[in-house]
């Protein structure tokens, strides 16, 4: 039942905001809708944790502890982001960057985007999952080009074409999976249902599935932002409005990775080998290393953090690729903390950019002086994302790296070297932005930094203490996807 609510609220919200998007209360309505979604997802989570996995609408929808955790995360971050976007967008409008119609578009698309992500997470049907992923692209592409600047148009075009093409490969992969499943489950609806596929995964035809996985990996991997398919990501993050960057980086990538992980489970089950895992590890490692080296060349702050997202998605992909309880646990923990931290960082960065009127890092100075909350938010967030204890990112990285040392020792030097380079790059720039003298004016509207500190607080908590029920929950999920 909650599933329907979760999906219905944002859908309705999208339509409502398409109608009333011009009203003054649109931002509040947006937040309210997101809050509703969050509540529903909370109820769903509680039920799944108590009653275990379940399906709905003759198996079209399906929740287990893996995707319910992502659902909760998505709904939560979507909610906090909507809170942040309210003053942010007001300030943008105040600066004359946005017209009222653009705001309407933004709000309704925001809700629809949430809807598509939740659909992709909740559906049991791989085909529908594909449709939802494509829809997620479609809903965000106009948001990326919201400012209508040449750069934003270019970014949006690249985003659209690259992700579209990538997704097309994923469709081919899905077809192949269906083709293989049809042999076992017979033609028709059930052959694409994850629950059924999971049962019979060992009987699926290996050669087909290996081919299928290649297509799925390239397809969804493009959306995850794995190197060398990542090229759309920095542009889109840098040029879109900050709330969009936040949800893209914090949520969409997770959802895409979720799709990859689901298919990995099938494929490894069918092949009985570790092929899929190895491929993922390879891509993950490549992404981490390349992103680290890209980082040291950035001038635009949002672009830099986009690359850091690539790095962290690579790390997660690596973790899920390694498999095993600890690594998977770490992967999911990393998903959580990364979404929270990265979105928090984007919130802070957004306000910083508004305050200084630029995203160029050498022009941003002395945030701590002008607006300490933004400055400290950025500083702490950056340190957290760099894997500094006692923040949660360190916890997950610790588990990932130690597992890697344990089972793939040769990878650790690369990982650690990459982390070191990334540290030098990001930290050096953060310092110049946060510290020093400045002559900036404070913002016209008070910035909303409650979300920032809520997120960072959670991350800090997760670094020091992972509540047992959360741990059990993650363990269940890890057991599911092994």
């Amino acid at each position: 039942m909650e599933i329907l609510w979760i999906l219905a609220i944002p859908l309705i919200g999208g339509l409502l905001l398409a109608l009333f998007g011009c009203q003054r209360f649109a931002p509040e309505l947006n937040s309210a809708m997101s809050f509703g979604t969050f509540l529903a997802s909370a109820f769903l989570t509680v039920r799944v944790i108590t009653d275990g996995p379940m399906t709905a609408l003759n198996e079209q929808f399906f929740v287990d502890s893996f995707n319910v955790f992502l659902v909760a995360l998505t709904a939560f971050v979507a909610f906090t982001t909507s809170l942040f976007s309210r003053p942010y967008m007001r300030i943008e409008q105040h600066h004359g960057k946005l017209s009222i119609n653009m705001l309407r578009l933004y709000h309704s698309m925001y809700q629809l985007f949430t809807f598509t992500m939740l659909l992709a997470l909740l559906t049991n049907n791989l085909g529908i999952m594909w449709v939802a992923m494509e829809a997620a692209t479609l809903t965000t592409v106009l948001l990326v080009s919201l400012y209508r600047t040449p750069a934003s148009l270019e970014a949006a075009w690249k985003y659209f074409i690259l992700c579209g093409v990538g997704i097309a490969q994923a469709l081919f992969g899905t077809i192949l999976v269906y083709f293989a499943a049809e042999k076992v489950l017979g033609a028709g609806g059930t052959a694409l249902l994850w629950t059924h596929l999971d049962v019979v995964k060992t009987q699926l035809e290996p050669t087909v599935l290996s081919l299928a996985f290649v297509f799925l990996l390239v397809g969804y991997g493009t959306k995850v932002g794995l190197a060398p398919l990542h090229n759309w990501l920095p542009d889109a993050h840098a040029e879109g409005p900050t709330p969009v960057s936040a949800v893209l980086s914090g949520l969409l990538l997770n959802v895409a990775l979720y799709a990859v992980v689901r298919s990995k489970v099938l494929v490894d089950g069918a092949l009985g080998s570790h092929l899929a895992g190895n491929l993922m590890m390879g891509f993950g490692l490549l992404s981490v290393v390349m992103a680290a080296f890209f980082l040291s060349r950035q001038k635009d702050v949002k672009r830099m953090f986009a690359y850091s997202s690539i790095e962290h998605m690579g790390l997660m992909t690596f973790a899920f690729g390694m498999g095993g309880p600890v690594a998977t646990f770490a992967g999911m923990l990393h998903m959580t903390v990364h979404s929270l931290t990265k979105s928090a960082i984007f919130f802070a960065v957004g306000h910083a950019a508004q305050q200084t009127g630029t995203q160029l890092m050498e022009r941003i100075r002395g945030l701590i002086k002008t607006s300490p909350t933004i400055g400290w938010g950025l500083a702490i967030g950056t340190l957290a994302i760099l894997g500094m204890p006692p923040f949660g990112v360190f916890a997950s990285e610790f588990m990932i790296i130690t597992t890697a040392m344990h089972s793939y020792p040769w990878t650790t030097p690369f990982l650690l070297a990459a982390l070191g380079v990334a540290f030098a790059a990001i930290f050096g720039r953060m310092q110049t932005m946060v510290f020093g003298e400045t002559t900036e004016q404070p913002l016209p509207h008070p910035p909303a930094l409650v979300p920032v500190f809520v997120h960072l607080g959670l991350v800090l908590l997760l670094g020091l203490y992972i509540p047992p029920y959360l741990a059990d929950w993650y363990r269940q999920a890890a057991a599911l996807i092994g």
Binding site: I161, V218, M399, I466
Partner: protein
């Protein structure tokens, strides 16, 4: 010590840590200068006192263990307090009492909000260091370690408006982080495959020689980065001057010792095998570090940089001790190993007091004159006699002069050197005397450095401007400095008691103690092995000197008419004397620079005879920058430029990437 009987030392230590954290948040919330200086810092000092007491009672007691239900789900926080950690906690507590009390006075004219933040970071820093000593699993250790690094980083960048300070902070945290990565890998190697990261399992895990060596090297690198072992020292002379003086005192006096703790913990406790060449490596590195540090200290022109380099030197001396201990331990000469280890720990303890005292002293000088350049200071003994006296104690102590504490530890190390012969390797036997010579040279140079430091700051006449308005130190500063100075004297005069304190640690590390033989002829006489071979009684020495002085004075008073006139300085009848005729800091260091020319990248600005305003400047740079660090930076630069090309901007190229990836993968799985 009633409370100790009722609850374990580790509980008390934990309590103090929590208490410090509470103080930190209190400071952050209050943001009121008066309250923070008058209440919170003294309260922190009280906490330090309790911690020291707990550690004292924990020394020699059984290792007591605690597990907190925090941390990772399958790796909760393990804590353990054995003699080693107890000793270092004693160091932390005892030294930070003085520093906190001093801070209570020093920070009195900071603004409230800034001070609130500073107080927060300061107490977090304290708590983190204590937690490092308590940690008994890799995760908690890393958390505490990095929390320590972070808090100290923010303390260093307190005055972040200055670009140099930002740069210093960046360099510091970067090197600290690289070191932390190495430490993490070191733990990873030590757990040897059965993914359990508690120290307990590491103790039980057996490593073959190769992996043990890898572990040791990683630990040496990782902890060396924090300790400032050459060539990882570059952050130290940048960060220490940048920080507010109590923070410098804390970092140099205590934080560097956490690295020493780490090395000892890994080498003697967590690894079950040692190899003799580790000792030689540590010995050599230590000597290089010591000489390097002291030589650079001699040519510094900034008083805090000078002290920072002197810290490098002392770390080198400590490392030499560790190296000796390892070597002897490997060759089963545990008595001598215990001697070397005792000397090491003793010196660590001494350095905490001496360097704390000196850094705090520079803080007061800075506060009174607003001047850090030695070239502008001078004659401060007249406006600030109390400070001058207290700092003199520290300077003499760190110069390794009897009967103060610096001398005792160096004496012990030299004894260890002298008792070394008879090692199976003839090369080692050759190396040991040379090493001893180098060590002696370093400590003699330390005397040079300290004469320069004290003489240029406190003696003579102010070189530029006058410091009439330079006020002497207030009551809190006096208490803090007094405590540390007292420590320097007592540690120097009653060595036997200190050695008895250290005994349980050496027992734990090398399975042998010194106290039995050291105290065999009573607490008055320090006899490392047997009275015939070497003995030293600082107290008697002290008394004799005092008696001698008093006797002479009385005699002179008795027989001398005591007529005394005051006049201008004679100076061989030199016509006019100006303060600028005294040696500047550069001038005083010049002979050293001439002798050790090749060490430095020297840049000189020498005036021509026709200059209206002749201006001489000599600058000695650290060559290691050019040889070690800049290449690494440029390589990274090039690599990232190379990879940056991939981000080409043409969508066709991007499509081509995906296309090729697809084809490659298809070909691969096929």
């Amino acid at each position: 010590m009633i409370f100790v009987s009722t609850l374990l030392p580790i509980d008390v230590a934990l309590g103090v840590i929590v208490y410090w954290l509470l103080l930190a948040f209190a400071g952050l919330l209050l943001q009121n200068t008066r309250t923070i200086t008058r209440v919170i810092f003294p309260a922190g000092a009280a906490g330090a006192l309790v911690l020291a007491a707990a550690a004292l009672s924990g020394l020699g007691g059984p290792a007591n263990v605690a597990v907190l239900p925090l941390g990772l789900p399958d790796l909760p926080f393990h804590l353990r307090m054995d003699s080693l950690s107890a000793f270092f906690m004693l160091l932390l507590g005892a030294a930070s009492i003085g520093i906190s009390l001093y801070s209570a006075g020093y920070f009195r004219d900071y603004e409230g909000n800034e001070l609130g933040l500073l107080c927060f970071e300061y107490h977090i820093f304290l708590a983190a260091m204590a937690l490092v000593f308590l940690a008994d699993d890799a995760y908690l250790f890393m958390v505490a370690w990095e929390a320590m690094a972070l808090s100290s980083y923010f303390l260093v960048t307190t005055d972040h408006v200055v670009p140099e300070i930002r740069r210093a902070g960046f360099l510091y945290l970067l090197i600290a982080h690289v070191g932390a990565i190495a430490i993490l890998m070191c733990f990873g190697v030590m757990q040897g495959g059965h993914g359990d990261y508690t120290f307990a399992t590491m103790r039980n895990a057996h490593l073959n020689e190769l992996w043990a060596s890898v572990t040791f090297l990683l630990a040496l690198f990782g902890f060396g980065a924090k300790a400032g072992i050459v060539p990882l020292h570059v952050w130290l002379p940048e960060a220490h001057p940048a920080a507010p003086s109590p923070v410098s005192a804390m970092m140099s006096g205590i934080m560097l010792k956490t690295a020493i703790y780490g090395i000892l913990r890994v080498t003697f406790d967590l690894i079950d095998v040692q190899l003799w060449w580790w000792g030689v490596l540590a010995l050599t590195l230590g000597l290089i570090t010591a000489l390097f540090g002291v030589i650079f200290a001699a040519v510094q022109t900034d008083m805090k940089r000078l002290l920072a380099y002197s810290s490098i030197e002392n770390i080198g001396i400590i490392l030499v001790g560790i190296g000796l201990a390892i070597t002897f331990h490997v060759f089963r000469k545990d008595a001598v190993a215990a001697l070397a280890l005792t000397a090491t720990l003793y010196h660590a303890l001494n350095h905490a007091f001496m360097k704390g005292l000196l850094f705090l002293g520079t803080g007061s000088v800075l506060h009174a004159t607003g001047e850090r350049k030695l070239g502008k200071l001078g004659g401060l003994i007249h406006p600030m006699p109390k400070l001058a006296l207290l700092v003199l104690v520290g300077a003499l102590a760190i110069a390794g002069l009897p009967p103060l504490n610096g001398f005792v530890s160096e004496w012990l190390i030299l004894q260890a050197f002298l008792l070394s012969p008879g090692l199976p390797h003839s090369y080692l036997n050759m190396l040991i005397p040379i090493a001893a010579a180098a060590l002696v040279l370093a400590s003699a140079l330390a005397g040079y450095v300290m004469v320069k430091f004290y003489g240029v700051i406190f003696l003579g006449q102010p070189r530029e401007g006058k410091f009439e308005d330079a006020h002497d130190i207030g009551i809190w500063e006096r208490i803090g400095l007094g405590w540390l100075a007292l420590g320097c004297i007592l540690l120097g005069v009653f060595p036997v008691f200190v050695i008895l304190l250290i005994d349980p640690v050496t027992q734990l590390m090398v399975g042998h103690t010194l106290g039995g033989s050291a105290a065999q002829t009573g607490w008055l006489w320090l006899t490392p092995l047997e009275p015939g071979r070497a003995s030293y009684s600082p107290l008697i020495l002290f008394l004799i000197v005092i008696v001698g002085v008093i006797f002479t004075m009385l005699a002179v008073k008795k027989f001398y008419h005591g007529r005394l006139r005051h006049g201008p300085a004679w100076d061989c009848g030199f016509p006019e004397q100006t303060a600028r005729m005294q040696d500047t800091a550069e001038g005083f260091g010049q002979p050293i620079r001439q002798i050790f020319e090749p060490f430095f990248g020297v840049t000189r600005i020498v005036p021509t005879p026709f200059d209206k305003h002749p201006h001489y400047r000599g600058e000695s740079r650290d060559r290691i920058w050019d040889y070690a660090y800049l290449p690494i930076a440029s390589v990274t630069e090039k690599l990232s430029a190379l990879i940056g090309r991939l981000q080409h901007g043409r969508i066709h190229i991007y499509l081509l990437y995906s296309f090729l990836t697809l084809l490659a993968l298809l070909a691969f799985v096929r």
